[in-house]
Symmetry: C2
Subunit: 479 residues, 2 copies
């Protein structure tokens, strides 16, 4: 393969000139990811994978706190299982990769490389459940899935991606609904509190729901080009899969009942959301909560006596309170290059340690969020770094919220809607008919994102057909 | 599928009667694993997966401490990549599962579901490396791999399994060799210190090495039926793959040189090794370091006032110092059933909390390793539980070491060798010729395990042909 460009000069296309090229420049030059020698697949490089590990750490803890257990289900799903739920297979069959040969043998039945694992979980649940005492079962798995996509972009849409998929079964519809909403709330919390990405929380329309679900809920984020990115979904299946897979239990009253089921997932797509929410002309800007490196220490005149030792001392102090810190001590690179590199990588806080800082007993820092420099007495190191990291986390969220709010407007007719979705989100009233959804998509290129939980109406008539409106809903173009 | 047996009576076949059936009984009844509706695949249930998470936690920390970074490479490998290194493809082709269709299209080139990822790492390394400054690159990934095995057993040999695969490239052969041995040592440490499994550490013969490696090293454990289980391997490829994949770098002297490469891996097979090393007639016995639950609290007469509260208090104290503890408060089951269940699950320490214990302010415990009961003053809780868990860890190792040593003997002719491999490991001198390896395998069913690092000779002639011996080596039957 062609060698990677190792030149020291990076060039990132300005966002205003070509947002899509900016995205590609940033992900490749910050070494999050690379293209793989397989159609539509990506390689997650150490820095990209470390962000995924941060997301895993936050989410896995919350899953366990809420009583979920991790399992691992087989990668390959026999075609006959996939066929059991009609709407589900219709949704996924066009994008399945099929294993047809094992060793030198042609298989009698094709095996799907899992696009999602409802059918496998249901098969096992039907074996494991017999009484109300066995319920609920709340399982999750971290794995990769495969969807044979026609056009792909790293993180946003790839033939293979990493995700978690939770699958739970419950005695009643109410419990399943409570679970569906609880997991959606955990996703909102992840997005807003850890990734510093404000999201719209609500229910998808029947047209846009998951294949086979009764109802699908989502969190929707706005990227810097005004398009939406669906950042996580939570589905309530009711008893549909239980009926298809015969998952029944003996209730307390001694009756055979079908279980109610949910599933929910987020993927490495979230990394795309982080990049396109926070990135700027210099590269990434990572929220401290999930940044693999929170503080980058850069030695100034590192050959001078005492400089590297001072860096080590500061790093060790920060490490001792759990702050993720790195010293860039590469001896063939200038401090200026290292500054650019730490900014390209979006490291929230930089500490520059030179002879003058050491002499004056001060810490000189640079904030990636505001591009501000500052300094403080070295005795305040631990307190001030913690405070700064908190401030940076909040500032990134505020900037993103301000951007989204400025690009969101209430619209009352098709012209307003069409204008608004060129730059961001349109809030509108909708009659609930799929015909209007289809017409809006055709005429404006925008799709329905979700119906927010706060349904305070902004009008009485559908933005499209003018008939009586039933729902407040968000429209936008989307990834 | 047929419902799982939910009866309260478990029956485990005695080891002496049928070791293989004992193994199956234990893994299914302790709910580590279940059979999947796909040929040769397994489902890792929560308790089984939690053991894997413990192993991951221990190993991933060591990998990072020794400068390795995690990445994720694509699942599917184009056939043309697999064909680049002749010996490698010859070794793996017969057991590859092939994707031949994507969506509705027939693929022009078959894609292998990765059996191992040397070829993918090499392809990316050839793109990423250009100068000596880029070296070493030390990457690892946690993933599943697929090998289309003819006959399978959960954990030991399955068509799909979970593992980690480390792949590193270095400037010199010496550095690659040092890395190969360092990772082998980390595996030894994992096996002996965390899993309480004594292992023989050494080099595989050319016949038994990894397809495409210059040399392969392994750790070998003895199961309770006297058979060996290869529990981890570390390979030095020299420049073989670098030549096949054109991975060159510009040295400090300005010359183009090939990199030297290693790979190393352990898998969920280790869980099989834990079971078959430590298990007994009551079920599993898990070493405290990796037990998902280290202390099982069982309430006695749990309906009585104060019992559950006392359990909670003890659990919270233990949790506060990082001990993994669970209260079995299922209200439809007897204390006796819960005792059996905690023993089946191999939980290292059980604490029984009843009205008398509360009244007398004592902790009553049961050790899973020695089956001893005891009690101590409640004021000693934290100290004594820590001490007990340490003792149990050491005791399990000692028992396994004693068993292995009793079943290991030096042999000097074919008759002795044949007798010894019926019950365990035979240490013998070997001329180094594959003909003797083949003959021994044919006549006794035993294979060479490895050549231990301590090569103090026990004789001068080959156990098989009587010619001058070159190596001390272990023979045994193996999984």
């Amino acid at each position: 393969m062609a060698k990677e460009n190792k030149g020291f000069v990076t060039h990132i296309t300005p966002r205003s000139e070509d947002f899509s090229q900016w995205y590609t420049d940033v992900i490749l030059q910050s070494k999050l990811v690379d293209y793989a020698p397989v159609r539509g697949c990506m390689v997650l490089r150490p820095y990209g994978y470390a962000i995924w590990e941060s997301i895993q750490r936050v989410l896995d803890k919350r899953f366990k706190e809420t009583g979920h257990e991790n399992v691992y289900m087989p990668l390959l799903i026999p075609e006959s299982l996939l066929l059991k739920e009609a709407e589900h297979v219709e949704g996924f069959a066009p994008e399945v990769a099929w294993v047809t040969q094992g060793g030198n043998d042609i298989l009698q039945e094709r095996l799907a490389v899992r696009p999602t694992s409802e059918t496998m979980f249901c098969t096992m649940y039907s074996k494991w459940v017999s009484s109300w005492r066995d319920l609920p079962m709340k399982y999750n798995q971290w794995c990769s899935v495969m969807r044979w996509e026609k056009s792909t972009r790293p993180f946003l849409r790839t033939s293979e991606f990493l995700w978690q998929e939770g699958h739970t079964i419950h005695a009643t519809l109410d419990e399943a609904q409570a679970e569906t909403l609880q997991m959606l709330e955990i996703y909102r919390e992840l997005a807003e509190e850890s990734l510093a990405i404000p999201v719209i929380v609500g229910e998808k329309t029947q047209k846009e729901k998951f294949a086979g679900a009764n109802s699908t809920y989502s969190i929707e984020a706005m990227m810097q080009d005004g398009k939406a990115l669906q950042a996580g979904t939570s589905h309530n299946f009711g008893t549909r899969f239980a009926e298809a897979f015969d998952i029944q239990y003996l209730s307390k009253d001694g009756k055979l009942e079908y279980v109610s089921e949910t599933s929910w997932g987020v993927s490495t797509r979230l990394i795309g959301a982080i990049i396109m929410t926070h990135g700027d002309e210099r590269g990434l800007r990572l929220p401290p909560v999930i940044a693999p490196i929170q503080v980058q220490i850069v030695p100034i005149a590192q050959h001078k006596e005492g400089v590297l030792e001072a860096c080590e001392e500061i790093a060790n102090k920060l490490k001792s309170v759990g702050i993720r810190v790195d010293i860039d001590d590469r001896d063939t690179l200038s401090a200026g290059f290292k500054f650019n590199d730490s900014e390209l990588k979006g490291i929230p806080l930089r500490i520059e340690v030179g002879p003058r800082d050491i002499e004056q007993d001060i810490i000189t820092y640079f904030r990636r969020d505001t591009l501000e420099k500052g300094s403080f007495s070295k005795s305040l190191l631990l307190n001030n770094v913690s405070v700064l990291l908190n401030q940076i986390q909040k500032e990134l969220y505020s900037q993103a919220l301000k951007f989204r709010d400025e690009r969101t407007a209430d619209v009352f007719n098709m012209e307003e809607l069409n204008n608004q979705v060129q730059i961001g989100f349109a809030r509108a009233m909708w009659c609930g008919d799929v015909e209007c959804e289809d017409k809006i998509k055709e005429e404006t290129g925008a799709t329905t994102r979700n119906m927010p939980f706060d349904q305070t109406p902004i009008g009485e008539t559908c933005v499209c057909c003018g008939k009586k409106a039933k729902k407040l809903i968000y429209f936008s173009k989307a990834y």
